[in-house]
């Protein structure tokens, strides 16, 4: 049987990594948006360039969705830990995996790998 304290530590460390990733990812997204705004300002009469910049800004805004999902993961974990603190943790192993959702960067797979899995190719091959 797993040691419930070790499970909690691992989950907490992953939660910390998630929060760190939010900071990094949001900074990248906002930097990209500001760069595109700068590009827009320099190409204010170029309709095609305006369209390209606006699309990139729109794409970058998905950071909010990713961040919100990461934060929810951490909130769920902390809420559960908070509720369980005064209660025996012996049955923690049977609890839902709280940390579903966006993967950490080190565990991310590319769209190409996703496409391979859909075709039926094992990504570990």
């Amino acid at each position: 049987m797993k040691n419930s304290k070790q499970i909690n530590t691992s989950e907490i460390l992953t939660a910390i990594e998630n929060l760190q990733e939010i900071i990094i990812y949001e900074e990248k997204a906002v930097t990209l948006i500001l760069d595109e705004i700068s590009e827009l300002q320099e190409n204010i009469d170029n309709k095609k360039q305006i369209s390209i910049c606006l699309t990139k800004i729109c794409e970058a805004c998905t950071f909010q969705d990713i961040s919100a999902q990461r934060i929810k993961k951490v909130i769920n974990l902390l809420s559960h830990l908070g509720a369980e603190t005064s209660i025996s943790m012996d049955n923690y192993e049977s609890k839902k995996d709280f940390l579903e959702g966006p993967q950490l960067s080190k565990n991310l797979i590319s769209q190409d790998k996703v496409d391979e899995i859909l075709k039926g190719n094992n990504p570990s091959d």
Partner: protein, 133 residues
Amino acid sequence: MPSKEDYKKYNLLVVDDHRTMLQIMHSLLKQIGFMKIDIAMDGLAALEKMKLSRYDLIISDWNMPNMDGLQFLKAVRASTDPQVKTVPFILVTAESKPENIIAAKQAGVNNYIIKPLTVTTLQAKLNITLGIM
């Protein structure tokens, strides 16, 4: 290369519990050329919409309250209405674990896009799913 005209006729349903994501998807889909785009905020709400309208394509998130994307996909594929049962279905999600992708494939997903997405990837997957050349 498809033109914007090629997409006008399609009726889409986009499902996501984050309003910002719905706005982003709406903007990107309009840029591609889609004009008829309905939205819902979870699988249950989407199923209710599908009782009232016919859709040519469903684009859904995975992690949603009430009914998540995988449950929604399974409900669609279990429909007794042949048109609903076979409607093209794309998951657009941050879920990137291989076992989740396999689960979605086994449930009958037509395509799977991981977030964050680009309009280029979105259009490419839509073209494949809808058979647009």
